[in-house]
Amino acid sequence: MQEGLTTLSLVGFRIGHWRFAVRLAQVKTSVMPSRVTPVWLMPGWVRGIISLHGSIVCVLDLGRLLGLPDDTARPARFMVLKDGALEAAIPVHEVFRVPEIPVDRVEPLPTTLGPAQRELLEGTINTASIDMTARGEAEDILTLIDTTTLFGSPIVRALGASAGAVR
């Protein structure tokens, strides 16, 4: 979270019925899905690797990581997130724009969430009063993801320590 900013420039994406938002600055690019090469002895939420402009990028299944129910629909985009030198591609079913949102609109995660999910997410945004182009099942709620938090979570970090594949 950048200090001094009153608004947040976000981009939204949908996985199954779940909608997420991430800061534009934490997105490297968005690409059309390409063939994923599975990697042996990886956990289930790691789909494999892809080549992005000549670099190897790990593909993480965010839904599975968060323990969401499996959605077999074909992904529409790969969102490539970054945190410094670390990069990871997340298959999403839809990408949509999110208007500038005041920082104070970011609310803390609900207490009902388990610790495993808590360490991966940043907060939630209620978009009931915001003009949105795409709305899912949980129409008014966007789950905000912070890449620093995500990549810094112990489970992902464990992966990075064990394999060194996530940059």
Partner: protein, 690 residues
């Protein structure tokens, strides 16, 4: 019938003439054949001339043979050498000095030296012996250079006499020839040749001959085995017989010469021709003669060669043959005339019965019960049998005619009655026919009207048919239009599908654009404050992409709607086409029904027309019938009159037929008209009722 009777008489004459004619032909043929035999006999002169030619030909061959023999002997080397030797010896003896001088000459050619001892006489005798054994010539002579005979030679052939002989002198001069030559008492067929030495000088002469007496006799005996039929050859010159085939016992030479003399020949007549014959020893000879030449002594004589043959007995007995022929001919003639007369009589007599009866019949009113007696199976009996059969037929016929004429009279009377009844009825019929005619005329007019109506109905039906036909073609056109529209709508569906594809592409582009806009936004965010403007643009682009996406979705929805609607339209049109097809079938059926109806109406019209014609014809025919009934009226009147006339004719016919007797108990009695009919047929009441 009279013509046949007149020709009957000529049958006898014909038979007579036939037999006499046949006899005449026989006689003429016999006479012709005998005269032909005679003419064969007349050819005897030619016959002998032919044999004389034959003799001369064979004599010529013998002459050639003799000539060959003479030449062969004359060229015998031994004879030539011996004769030359003898001549040279004689020369040396006559001139010893010359001979010694020649003998001393060196290189003297052969033949000029002294000859070795050689006897020409021995050599000749040897040759004569061999030749005599082979062909036994009657005359063989070899003379040396002084014409002296060498070796054996015939008598009277001394050098002097030989030199006087013309034939010998010709031979000695080198001529080779064959002639008839008289030497001494005999005549020969003689040939000869000169003997010459190597230098070609004559050293002698050879002559070979055969006695002509022997030659003639051989020919005569070869001509026939019977002496009487042999051809005798005689050579005579100057009333002297030089050679002859007659034996001395048959005729001495003097008698023969006298008989051959021209003045002592006898002329006989045979077949109207005069022929000269020779009479010798009581026998007559036919002969032929030919002039020839004989060398006798120092000259050649003209001689005559005769060929004579004893005459056959036929010509002598000609008279004896002809007389009996004529007598027998005359006898046969008379006999045949008598025979013909008897034959003709036997034929003609039975015919007289026929003639008499037919004469009676020809006068009229004959007896048809008469029958001719039949006795055998000859032609006349057959004639009688046929005439009897004919009379049977005539009798039967006349009886029938008689009965028929009776019936005719009755029938005529009945006809008369019936005809008058018919006349009455015809009058009634005439009235009825008139009524019928009027009724038919009215009916005819009605039928004409009907026919016109039917024609109008046919016209209406035809027009209806045309309208239905047009409707049918219009429905077909509608069907075409519907099918075309269906195709168009289907094409529209296909096109909308293509538009769907295009929209999909647009949507993909919009998606891509959206991605690009997002990425632009991301890049703008990365640029921080500098990228704000760019972020706005990216936002706008993103908005545009969203709108495009939205519009594309709407278009897709619209297209789906269009596809649904076009499918519905196609299905509806297909249903429409099917309905139109069913309509076409129904209209066709209607059209065909209308056509059938039109045909029926036309047929009805035609039938009505025919009916009109028929009724017209009936009307005309009824008028004709009316006329005919009218004519019938007058005819029935005429029939009544004719019936009367027919009855009168029947009476006349009966009277005529009754002139002939047709049964034994009946007498020909005229006046049948006055008599009542004897066998009146049953009255024809049924006919009258009919």
């Amino acid at each position: 019938m009279k013509v046949q009777l007149s020709t009957l008489w000529s049958i006898r004459n014909r038979i007579l003439f036939s037999i006499a004619g046949l006899l005449l032909v026989f006689l003429v043929a016999t006479l012709y054949l005998s005269s032909r035999q005679l003419s064969l006999a007349l050819d005897r002169g030619d016959y002998l001339a032919k044999h004389l030619e034959r003799f001369l030909t064979s004599e010529e061959y013998v002459g050639q043979f003799l000539q060959g023999t003479a030449v062969t002997l004359a060229s015998d080397a031994d004879i030539v050498r011996c004769l030359a030797g003898q001549r040279d010896e004689a020369a040396r003896a006559a001139h010893p000095g010359v001979a010694a001088a020649i003998a001393d000459m060196p290189g003297l050619p052969v033949g000029y030296g002294p000859a070795p001892a050689c006897s020409a006489a021995d050599r000749w005798n040897d040759a004569q012996g061999k030749l005599g054994a082979a062909m036994s010539p009657d005359f063989m002579l070899l003379a040396d250079w002084m014409d002296r005979p060498v070796g054996a030679h015939p008598e009277g052939t001394e050098a002097e006499s030989l030199r006087r002989n013309l034939f010998f002198t010709e031979i000695a001069q080198g001529l080779v020839k064959t002639s008839w030559v008289g030497i001494g008492e005999h005549a020969y067929l003689m040939s000869g040749a000169r003997v010459t030495d190597a230098a070609g000088e004559g050293v002698g002469t050879v002559m070979v001959g055969i006695s002509l007496d022997r030659l003639f006799r051989d020919f005569a005996s070869g001509s026939d085995s019977k002496r009487a039929k042999q051809q005798n050859v005689v050579l005579a010159a100057k009333d002297e017989v030089l050679a002859s085939s007659f034996l001395a016992s048959e005729a001495r030479p003097e008698a023969l010469a006298a008989a051959l003399a021209a003045d002592s020949r006898i002329t006989v007549e045979e077949g109207g021709e005069k022929i000269q014959v020779i009479e010798l020893g009581g026998l007559r000879y036919d002969f032929t003669q030919r002039p020839c030449t004989v060398i006798s002594g120092d000259r050649s004589l003209s001689a005559t060669l005769f060929m004579a043959r004893q005459r056959t007995a036929f010509a002598e007995k000609e008279r004896a043959f002809a007389m009996p022929l004529y007598i027998f001919g005359a006898c046969f003639m008379i006999l045949s005339v008598l025979l013909g007369f008897v034959l003709a009589r036997s034929i003609v007599r039975p015919l007289r019965g026929f003639i008499r009866y037919t004469e009676e019949m020809s006068k009229g009113g004959g007896d048809l019960t008469h029958r001719f007696p039949v006795t055998g199976t000859d032609e006349l009996s057959t004639l009688a049998r046929n005439l009897n059969a004919m009379l049977d037929q005539l009798q039967f016929l006349f009886n029938k005619v008689k009965n028929a004429s009776l019936e005719l009279g009755n029938s005529a009377a009945e006809i008369s009655v019936t005809a008058s009844e018919l006349h009455q009825r015809a009058q009634e019929e005439s009235l009825k026919v008139e009524e019928i005619t009027t009724a038919i005329n009215e009916m005819n007019q009605m039928i004409q009207t009907l026919s016109q109506n039917a024609q109008e109905a046919a016209e209406h039906a035809r027009k209806g048919g045309e309208a239905v036909s047009e409707a049918s073609s219009a429905i077909v056109d509608i069907r075409k239009v519907v099918v075309d529209s269906s195709d168009h709508v289907r094409t529209l569906g296909e096109r909308s599908a293509r538009i769907g594809n295009i929209v999909e592409t647009i949507r993909q582009i919009a998606d891509q654009t959206s991605l690009l806009a997002l990425n632009a936004s991301i890049e703008a965010a990365h640029a921080g404050e500098h990228g704000k403007g760019f972020a706005v643009v990216a936002n706008e682009v993103s908005n545009l992409a969203d709108r495009v996406n939205k519009s594309a979705r709407q278009i897709e929805e619209q297209l789906a709607q269009i596809r649904l609607l076009t499918d519905q339209a196609v299905s509806t049109m297909e249903n429409g086409t099917r309905t139109v097809d069913a309509g076409v079938v129904k209209v066709d059926a209607t059209f065909s029904g209308l056509n059938d109806m039109l045909g029926l109406v036309q047929e009805i019209g035609d039938r009505e027309k025919e009916q009109a014609q028929v009724s017209d014809n009936i009307a005309r025919n009824m008028e004709d019938i009316f006329m005919l009934v009218r004519e019938g009226l007058s005819s029935t009147e005429q029939t009544v009159n004719e019936g009367e006339r027919l009855r009168t004719l029947g009476e006349l016919l009966l009277r005529s037929v009754e002139q002939f007797k047709t049964s034994e108990e009946e007498q020909p009695a005229p006046e049948p008209g006055a008599k009542a009919p004897r066998a009146l047929p049953a009255p024809r009441q049924g006919d009258r009722e009919r």
